[in-house]
Structure formats: C-alpha cells, structure tokens
C-alpha cells in the first residue's frame, strides 16, 4: 500500500505541476494574442478586407482560450488535491472544449499564413494602390503602402519592375513616362522630394529603392501567424499529456 500511495502522490504531484504549467501558458498565450491584436503593426489594412482577416480571428480566440486555460488549470489543481470525481469530470470536459477551440485557432492561423504569398500582395497592390475610382475608397491601402515604402526603403512587392510589368490602378492616372513607379519609390530628401527625379525615373541605383517590400511585409505577418499557431500547438500537446494523466487519476479515485 505504501508503494501505491507513493505512486498516487507522484501522480498527484505531476498533475498539479502540469496544471500550473498550463495556467502559466494560458496567461502567456493571452498576453501574446493581446499584443498581436493591439499592436499598430500598420499592416493590418492590407490583410483586413480580404478573407485573410482570419489570422486576426485566430488571435482573438487565442485570448479567450488563454484565459479559459488559466481558470481551468486552477479548477484542475483543486480537483486533483481534493480527489473529487465531479470536479475532475467537469474539468476534463471543459478542457476538451477549450482544446477544440485552440485547435481551430492554430489550424486557422497556419492555413492563412500559407495563403499570404507574394502574388497575393502583388495583386492587391496593383489593384488598390492609389485607386481613384470611386474616390477615397482605398486610402488605407495607399497610406499603408506609402509608409511601408518610406520606412523600409523598398518599392513594389518583388521589385520596382512590378509597376512596369503590370498595369495597375496607379497606372490609370499616372503615365509611365512620368511615373514608371510611384514617387515614394524614389530616394527622398528631408523635405520629401526626390533627390534626383530623373535618376529615379531612369532607375539609376542610389536614386531609387531597388528592392521589393515583400520581406518587410512577410516578416511581421509570419511571426504573428507562427506565434499563434506553434505556441498554441505546444500548449495543446502539453495539455494532452495532462488530460491523459487526469483521466487515469480520475478512474482510480474511490467513490
């Protein structure tokens, strides 16, 4: 009996430890998702109007799942210490529901991360940057792109030739003799005017930004999506182990 008692105590200890870790991970997940939702990343307008706002939905689900995990971990610790069958049964069922939600959030984040290819951003940029008809309809996309190009010293998605290879909403109002690419692609001086306008139009290096913006876009969005997806996946694997342990513990409790 002593040995069985020791095993029980070890199992109890492990379950309590497991629940403590789940509680802390729940808080971390909530904090991470709140950060992603509230940071003015500046790229949200590019993702907002498309089907890809689901990455944002995944982050919102992550916030609530994180809080639920924290609350349930406390319930689990109480249930394990008191060895109460009812409490642990409630705990297991609610944890399974939370598991299912978090699983949905991870898969959504991973799937939509896959769909953010350069072609997607290229098409969006060409169709919506400086679209003047109807007026002011895509101001946010235009402003986001301008800021992106100014801050990262880049032009286009893959390179400035994106503007030359494809027709675009921008091309409808700006002839390619005067504006092979938008003025924000030029190296600008302190007043916001091109340092050498002819050099910029000609594509002389040093007077225009010759690299594409895709790296600057995909960096933050990737971190976001993989943060939600993979951290959630790690938490779920740990939760799985704790739940299996809890089920064994539950089936061994005398009633």
């Amino acid at each position: 009996m002593a040995k069985s008692d020791d095993c029980i105590h070890i199992l109890q200890g492990l379950l309590v430890f497991g629940n403590v870790v789940i509680g802390m991970c729940g808080i971390a997940l909530t904090a991470e998702c709140i950060y992603f939702v509230s940071t003015p990343q500046g790229l949200y307008p590019l993702l907002k109007d498309t089907e890809n706002s689901d990455i944002h939905a995944a982050a919102w689900i992550g916030i609530f799942v994180g809080l639920a995990l924290f609350a349930l971990s406390i319930l689990g610790i109480i249930g394990v210490i008191k060895a109460s069958r009812t409490l642990l049964l409630v705990y297991i069922i609610l944890m399974l529901i939370t598991f299912a939600f978090e699983m949905a959030s991870c898969i959504t984040a991973a799937t939509h991360q896959d769909s953010l290819t350069p072609e997607f951003f290229l098409k969006q940029m060409l169709e919506r940057y400086q679209k003047s008809d109807p007026a002011n309809s895509d101001n946010e996309v235009t402003k986001t792109w301008d800021e992106l190009m100014l801050q990262n010293h880049c032009c286009g998605v893959l390179s400035p030739s994106d503007w030359v290879e494809y027709t675009s909403a921008f091309r409808l109002t700006h002839s390619d003799a005067d504006y092979p690419w938008p003025r924000t692609c030029c190296v600008l001086d302190a007043k916001g005017l091109p340092v050498n306008l002819d050099g910029c139009k000609l594509g002389v290096s040093g007077y225009y930004n010759s690299n594409g913006c895709y790296d600057a876009i995909s960096g933050p969005v990737s971190t976001h999506a993989w943060g939600v997806a993979w951290f959630g996946f790690a938490i779920l694997c740990w939760t799985f182990c704790v739940l299996i342990g809890t089920m064994f513990y539950w089936s061994g409790i005398e009633y």
């Binding site: 299912a100 494809y166 027709t167 390619d176 003799a177 000609l202 089920m247 089936s251």
Partner: protein
C-alpha cells in the same frame, strides 16, 4: 535603365561626334519599315518629322537637339550617361513643339540613330540600331494567387492535433462507459484523504451477554 510601355533608354552619344564641335546632335526614331526611306536631309522641326504626327503619317521623327557640350568626353564621374527616349510628357500633344521627346505610342519595334547636322547639312551619323521592343504590361488579373498549396507545417499541425483530440475523446468515452467498473482502476484505488470515517461496529456478543446472564 528601364524599358517601360512608352519609354526606353539609350546610351548617350559621348565620344562619338568629337570631330563635329559645331554640330547639333539629333536622335531619329523610326518604325522598322521606315529606315530605308528616311532621308538624312529631312529637317528637324518640320511637319514630316514632327513627333506629334508619329506614327501616322510620320514614320520617323527627330528629337533631342543637343550639342557636344551636353555630352563631354570622357564622362565625368557622377554624371548619368543614359538618355531616356519618351521622357517629355508636357509637349506630347503640343503641335508647336515638333521636336518633343514624347512618350512612344506603341510597343514598337523601333530603330534609332543619331544624326549630326551643321545647319541643315548632315555631317555624321551612327548606324541604325537593332530593333527595340517596348514592354507590354500585363493586367493584374493574370497573376495567379490560387494554388499556393499547404505547407508541411500546417498539415503536420492539423494531423497531430486531430489525432490528439480523437484520443482524448476516446478516453473520455472510456471513462464514462466504465464509470462503475473496477477493471481499469481497481489496482490503484485509493481513498480520499479527509473522508476516512470510522464506523462504530457492534459485535454480536456485546448484545448476547445480557441475554446469557438471564
């Protein structure tokens, strides 16, 4: 330099017309089929060579009007050594500027040469260039955004999580089905810590003794 749908870029004629310090350097831009009929004595700025009437009926126009002073030889460092054909948009429709370097109206092919004129007498020229084609821009709808496929990571996450969830649900079902059974947990049964009670158990012989006395 970059070739767009209406402009292209040439090397400036530096160190070519060095012997003709007094000449004006003109650029002749012609359609492919007009190079054999182009006459060097055609004057720039005339209706026969006006940009605004290009490509129909004018088949070759003259533009640039530079002098050797514009193209010092050798090239000083820091100077841009290319010339953009099609850069002047302000005079493209202005018939009073027939030597406008306006944007080209179509994708070409075009052939160009430089011509040096002293007064109206041609004194030097380059050979006709190879045919130059301009770009034709594609519409953005031609960009394929579908078929990006699923990455290995996403497939791994989905598969593994589905398996884990299935195992957990199976465990829950097993728990509930074997609620009252001792088969799974019998050997590790243990009591609840605080609920141990001692029941008073009266043995039979305590009650029998008074009866035995009688």
């Amino acid at each position: 330099g970059v070739t767009t749908a209406s402009t292209f870029v040439l090397d400036q004629p530096r160190c070519i017309f060095d012997n003709y310090g007094n000449a004006d350097i003109w650029l002749v831009v012609a359609l492919e089929d007009a190079i054999s009929t182009f006459n060097n004595t055609a004057g720039p700025g005339t209706p026969e060579t006006a940009f605004q009437s290009f490509p129909d009926p004018v088949r070759a126009y003259m533009t640039l009007n530079a002098t050797l002073a514009h193209y010092p030889c050798p090239k000083p460092d820091g100077d841009i050594a290319v010339l953009r054909v099609g850069s002047e948009t302000s005079c493209a429709q202005d018939a009073s500027r027939p030597t406008c370097n306006g944007p080209l109206p179509g994708p070409g092919p075009y052939r160009v040469k430089f011509l040096a004129l002293e007064g109206s007498v041609p004194v030097a020229e380059t050979v006709w260039s190879e045919p130059i084609m301009l770009r034709t821009a594609k519409p953005p709808s031609s960009i394929a955004t579908t078929g990006s496929g699923h990455s290995a990571g996403m497939i791994a996450i989905t598969t593994i999580l589905s398996i884990l969830l299935a195992v957990l649900l199976a465990g829950l079902v097993a728990m509930l089905v074997f609620w009252r059974s001792e088969s799974c947990g019998g050997s590790s049964s243990f009591s609840k810590p605080e609920s141990v009670t001692v029941r008073r158990y009266n043995t039979h012989h305590v009650y029998d003794q008074p009866a035995a006395r009688l």
